[in-house]
């Protein structure tokens, strides 16, 4: 059972199974290409699109990555400030929760006015979306530090800075990680949609064009590419988590 389980759950096997199912299902049920094009067509389209696909993948990755890192750093900064300055939290945290609900994607057009047509506009959208989950989770993690441990450190005569570095940050790290994992997928969505506000390269651009020129097969290629990028980013974070932040928050 466990042996079989391990084989069944390994990613390559899943990919293979899905591919086989795809191959079988399209002719079997005579599915129209607009619902699901044959896998062969999708593959051919991917090959045709290859250089653009690669360039787009890299560009979208860059936007997501820079936006995410910036958003994470700022988020951790604000979360920390909120955790340590009660008044700041009481005054601004509710406003932040409200701002989190602002659909930036809806006024990407204006973001482009503000930040120009550079990569910056997409980065800012990705940043904005990643920022909130990270800030909220940082606050949650830091304010959930076990008071017993904090007391222990102060009984050793630790300074606030020592307590922060030795205790608060590591004990909040698992919660912050959760925030980061939420943030990265939002960042990717932000980067893709951000590209719809005028750009030349990127998975989002290709997606938009594919729709404009009614190329359903290409939409599938792009969905798979987006999924791959998403899995890559999320997987990298999970790996970092498993490696460096394996303990539990209590």
């Amino acid at each position: 059972m466990t042996m079989r389980g391990r084989i069944l759950t390994s990613p390559p096997v899943t990919v293979l199974l899905v591919a086989l199912a795809w191959l079988a299902v399209v002719p079997l049920f005579n599915i129209e290409p607009r619902y699901l094009p044959p896998l062969g067509d999708v593959y051919a389209e991917a090959v045709k699109l290859w250089p653009d696909l690669l360039a787009g993948f890299w560009r979208t990755f860059l936007e997501t990555f820079i936006g995410f890192i910036a958003g994470a750093l700022i988020g951790i900064g604000f979360g920390t400030a909120f955790a340590y300055v009660r008044l700041l939290e009481r005054a601004f945290f509710p406003i932040f929760v409200a701002l989190q609900s602002v659909p930036v994607i809806a006024f990407g057009a204006i973001v482009v006015i503000w930040f120009g047509n550079t990569i910056l506009a997409k980065v800012v959208i990705a940043l904005y979306l990643a920022f909130f989950p990270v800030a909220v989770n940082t606050l949650r993690g830091l304010s959930g530090v076990n008071p017993g441990r904090a007391a222990l450190l102060s009984s050793f005569g630790a300074s606030n800075w020592q307590s922060f570095l030795m205790l608060a940050l590591p004990s909040a790290a698992p919660v912050i990680m959760t925030g980061l994992k939420l943030g990265i997928s939002l960042s990717l969505a932000g980067a893709i949609v951000g590209e719809w506000f005028g750009d030349t390269v990127g998975l989002g651009v290709l997606l938009l064009q594919a729709l404009y020129f009614e190329q359903v097969t290409r939409v599938w290629v792009l969905i798979i590419a987006c999924g791959l990028l998403g899995a890559l980013l999320y997987g990298a974070l999970s790996l970092i988590e498993r490696r460096y932040v394996w303990w539990q928050f209590d």
Binding site: A151, S155, F156, G157, L167, P170, S171, A173, W247, Q248
Partner: protein
């Protein structure tokens, strides 16, 4: 009756104190939480005095204020202004005690992201010792604490008894003459616990520090202590101080000796009275809660 107990305990401590100053002395220490009408008096009117090198155990029912008292002695909570804490005869203003006393809290509170070794050196690091030096110093204690070979393990890989020994090692490495141990063996099963007690006495006899030790377990209190202090139900105060004249070094057989039995019988009666009170108190509280 209970006020008499305090008088006696206080007197005895004071007369001893006149020869060499007591290592730790508490004079009329109170701690009140909140303000009327929700005031909780956690600790009331505690006077006590501990000589250098003494091993004093403190028992009392759950919630009677033992941990609160420890927090004050460790400098984590200021006592109310009507009392004072003296260390080797010196009164200690608020905040002055932090960093002066080795304190081991009720739970082991190991840091899960640090290895056993790095948990042990925590206090040394806070004091600013270099990591290399701190580790070298800690490593030399590992055999004695029965933790050889576990230096690079993480706390979650240890059994309860081992975790407790790591926490103790951490406390011992923070080299202060006065050690406060808040129920260090509370989470252990009875058999492991018995072994740890004997081991602790062994360590103590070799390091000769002053120890103040909280427990719920009368056997443990008698087995370990030079003196056993009994606290009353909340508001906690010292009700009785029993000097344990059992010879040292003590081993397991002491527990079944008639002298031990005699002391235990006396303390049991005293403690039980207090336990009953807490029981009644908690019931009252619940009643009040359900009514409101």
């Amino acid at each position: 009756m209970s006020s008499e107990g305090i008088q006696n305990g206080g007197m005895a401590a004071r007369s001893k104190a006149s020869v060499i100053p007591p290592h730790l002395q508490l004079v009329n220490v109170w701690k009140r939480f909140g303000s009327e009408p929700n005031r909780t008096v956690a600790v009331s009117n505690v006077d006590l005095s501990i000589a250098p090198g003494e091993f004093v155990t403190l028992i009392g029912p759950s919630g009677c204020g033992k941990s609160t008292l420890f927090n004050m002695i460790a400098g984590l909570l200021p006592p109310d202004s009507d009392g004072s804490i003296l260390l080797s005869g010196q009164p200690q203003p608020d905040g002055a005690l932090l960093g002066k006393i080795a304190f081991m809290p009720q739970k082991d509170l190991l840091f899960p992201w640090r290895t056993v070794l790095d948990n042990a050196t925590l206090a040394l690091e806070v004091e600013g010792m270099s990591r290399r030096k701190a580790r070298a110093k800690a490593e030399s204690l590992f055999p004695e604490f029965g933790l050889m070979g576990f230096e690079r393990h993480y706390p979650h890989e240890l059994s309860g008894g081992m975790r407790q020994r790591v926490a103790l090692m951490r406390t011992f490495l923070f080299e202060r003459d006065l050690i406060l141990l808040d129920e260090p063996f509370g989470a252990l099963d009875a058999l492991t616990r018995a072994m740890m007690q004997r081991w602790l006495l062994d360590i103590w006899e070799r390091h000769k520090r002053t120890v103040l030790f909280i427990t719920h377990d009368i056997d443990e209190a008698i087995f370990l202590g030079d003196k056993v202090m009994v606290m009353t139900a909340r508001p906690g105060t010292i009700k009785q101080t029993e000097t344990i004249a059992l010879p040292r070094p003590r081993d397991a057989s002491v527990i079944t000796s008639p002298d031990f039995m005699e002391i235990k019988r006396r303390l049991l009666a005293s403690v039980e009275e207090e336990s009953m009170k807490t029981f009644a108190l908690s019931r009252d509280a619940a009643d009040r809660k359900t009514m409101s």
